[in-house]
């Protein structure tokens, strides 16, 4: 499941599940012995922040880079000065949680040159076919191209996180596989993983390649 690339960027449409996946992926890397930091660069929506899970991250020994204002009551699109450690300190793996849509990806502007220069990254598009504005491959590809344009960087793979929240069943996930396949073909990118909540993981294991369990839930206000 783990890539050999040092940087993993999770980008995608609003509410596609980026924060949750970034947190769980970082914990997964840590458990396989990597020195890892999560960088919360979501300057679009201050309501769901990685910082809310700070205690869990600390316990697991995962580093955290996020805005000083995150989790506070200040609605300021500020970036932390530690931002530069993402590309300057090459001793650690970094999982980047980027804000939704092209607006969220604008934050990549100042990081992209260094990311491309180092050339050890994977940039994953998180997709959910049950989100109203990305129900099919063409609409999903549209969001994908907008993000690439805003960030000045190309995707390398897909994460299928298709779910209906609490009402997600194994059938919900299975019914999304043709969609993920269609996006994959249209984008020319592999589906790197399919993410499901832990309670569905056992049922779906073996039926879905690259299945990845989400155990940690980002706090919802």
């Amino acid at each position: 499941m783990s890539s050999a690339k040092r940087l993993t960027l999770f980008c995608g449409h609003y509410g596609s599940g980026k924060t949750n996946i970034a947190l769980n992926y970082a914990l997964h890397l840590r458990q396989s012995g990597e020195a890892v930091t999560v960088a919360d660069l979501d300057i679009v929506n201050p309501y769901f922040r990685t910082k809310d899970s700070r205690a869990e991250l600390e316990r697991a020994g995962v580093g955290l880079i996020c805005s000083d204002y995150a989790g506070g009551n200040l609605d300021i699109p500020a970036l932390p000065p530690e931002l530069y450690a993402i590309t300057d300190d090459r001793s650690r793996r970094v999982v980047l949680d980027i804000g939704g849509d092209d607006r969220g990806a604008l934050v990549l502007g100042r990081l992209t040159p260094a990311i491309l220069a180092e050339n050890s990254y994977e940039m994953l598009l998180v997709i959910n076919r049950y989100r109203p504005l990305t129900p099919d491959a063409p609409s999903t590809i549209e969001v994908m191209r907008e993000i690439e344009q805003a960030g000045g960087i190309r995707f390398t793979g897909l994460v299928n996180n298709s779910n209906l929240g609490e009402e997600t069943t194994p059938g919900t996930v299975l019914a999304s596989l043709p969609y993920a396949q269609a996006v994959s073909e249209a984008a020319g990118l592999p589906v790197v993983m399919t993410t499901v909540k832990k309670n569905l993981f056992e049922t779906l294991q073996g039926q879905v390649p690259g299945l990845f369990p989400l155990t940690l839930q980002a706090k919802i206000v």
């Binding site: 609003y14 509410g15 929506n45 201050p46 309501y47 769901f48 009551n73 200040l74 609605d75 959910n128 049950y130 989100r131 109203p132 504005l133 129900p135 779910n163 209906l164 929240g165 609490e166 009402e167 919802i220 206000v221």
Partner: protein, 356 residues
């Protein structure tokens, strides 16, 4: 459209408005309602509608006035401080008897306050908010599905009674994601013979105005408006009754507070405490009748609110001093934990409402 989609509350409002035939949205970004504007910005150009980010909330509400006068379904949305700015325009809409949908995804106040959820605009919403004698129809959703359904209902009621309907949500309702069915029934829009759509030289001019300089005429317009309000009070009250059949304690809560209260009620029931809830879905008109009826059966009531105690006044008025009404609250962007409400229920079960 029978398949469910996963939506944020804010997105559900925006999509439901489009399904209800709204093609004009004017707004100004403010957390925690910005997704409504963002969604409209994406969708409206694709369906021949108008999305316009106004230069201020005041500009936006006056654009609403203009479109409504032209007979179209129109909406604006904001969060608490922005709604205060819209106050003047909302009063003008009322004075001109223009239908509109205004969404308030509340945040903590007063002043700029914070960006976390709150219900402390209850007074502002249910008492009108702006100057003059008027009411808005105030709908209080408690799920993403209700965010969608009440948006449609809001447009229908606004057109039917020529009033502003307000969706009074909070930051949690706006941001939370739940599966939604968008298979919504929308009643056909009523005729609007008063709209300024052009006379075609076949009828007298329609004039949309809130200026009445002759006091006798202004008084008459107020009397007529309040006649209409009485009809709304008689016909349009909505509430949910939850486990009230044998309840000795009645919780009053709406929106996010009602969701948390349900957990506390179920925990208290497991301890053998007979507690239920009346959840107002319309805050104006307020469902006084079920509270009045409950006041004859229960020992006491607890109003659970994300405010310093605003709805509690309507609960007390409805209960007519028959039972004590206690407040269980958090403010400033904090949400009560089920444990806090459970503790208030236990306390009430022990000592509450020993009738004189």
């Amino acid at each position: 459209m029978s398949e469910k989609v996963l939506m944020k509350g804010n997105e559900a409002i925006a999509e439901a408005a489009i399904l209800a035939g709204c093609r004009h949205y004017f707004g100004y970004p403010i957390t925690p309602q910005t997704e409504i504007a963002a969604y409209m910005a994406k969708r409206m150009p694709k369906i021949g509608g108008t999305f316009l980010q106004a230069e201020s909330e005041i500009a936006a509400i006056n654009m609403v006035y203009g479109v409504s006068a032209a007979g179209k379904r129109v909406m604006t949305s904001s969060s608490s401080p922005g709604i205060s700015l819209k106050g003047e325009g909302i009063s003008y809409l009322a004075g001109a008897d223009l239908p509109a949908l205004v969404v308030n995804v509340q945040r903590g106040g007063p002043g700029l306050g914070g960006i976390q959820p709150s219900q402390s605009d209850y007074f502002q919403a249910t008492r009108g908010g702006g100057h003059g004698d008027y009411h808005m129809i105030v709908l209080a959703p408690a799920s993403v599905q209700e965010m969608a359904e009440f948006t449609v209902r809001g447009f229908e009621l606004a057109d039917q009674y020529r009033m502003t309907a307000m969706i009074l949500a909070d930051g949690t309702m706006g941001q939370m994601m739940e599966p939604v069915s968008l298979d919504l029934h929308v009643a056909p829009m009523p005729e609007k013979p008063w709209a300024t759509t052009g006379t075609r030289m076949q009828r007298p001019h329609n004039i949309v105005n809130s200026l009445y300089l002759v006091p006798e005429v202004l008084e008459r317009s107020n009397f007529e408006r309040y006649e209409r309000y009485r009809t709304v009070e008689e016909n349009e009250t909505m509430y949910e009754s939850y486990r009230m059949e044998d309840a000795e304690i009645c919780i009053a809560a709406f929106g996010i507070a009602a969701r948390v209260s349900k957990n506390a009620i179920n925990a208290a029931r497991a301890e053998g405490i007979r507690v239920g809830m009346i959840r107002p879905q319309t805050l104006w008109p307020f469902p006084s009748a079920p509270f009045r009826a409950a006041a004859d059966r229960v020992r006491c009531m607890i109003s659970v609110e994300l405010s310093m105690g605003q709805m509690i006044e309507d609960v007390r008025l409805a209960a007519e001093c028959r039972v004590p009404v206690y407040l269980c609250n958090r403010v400033g962007g904090m949400i009560p934990e089920p444990e806090q409400i459970l503790a208030a229920i236990r306390e009430a079960a022990k000592t509450g409402g020993n009738k004189q």
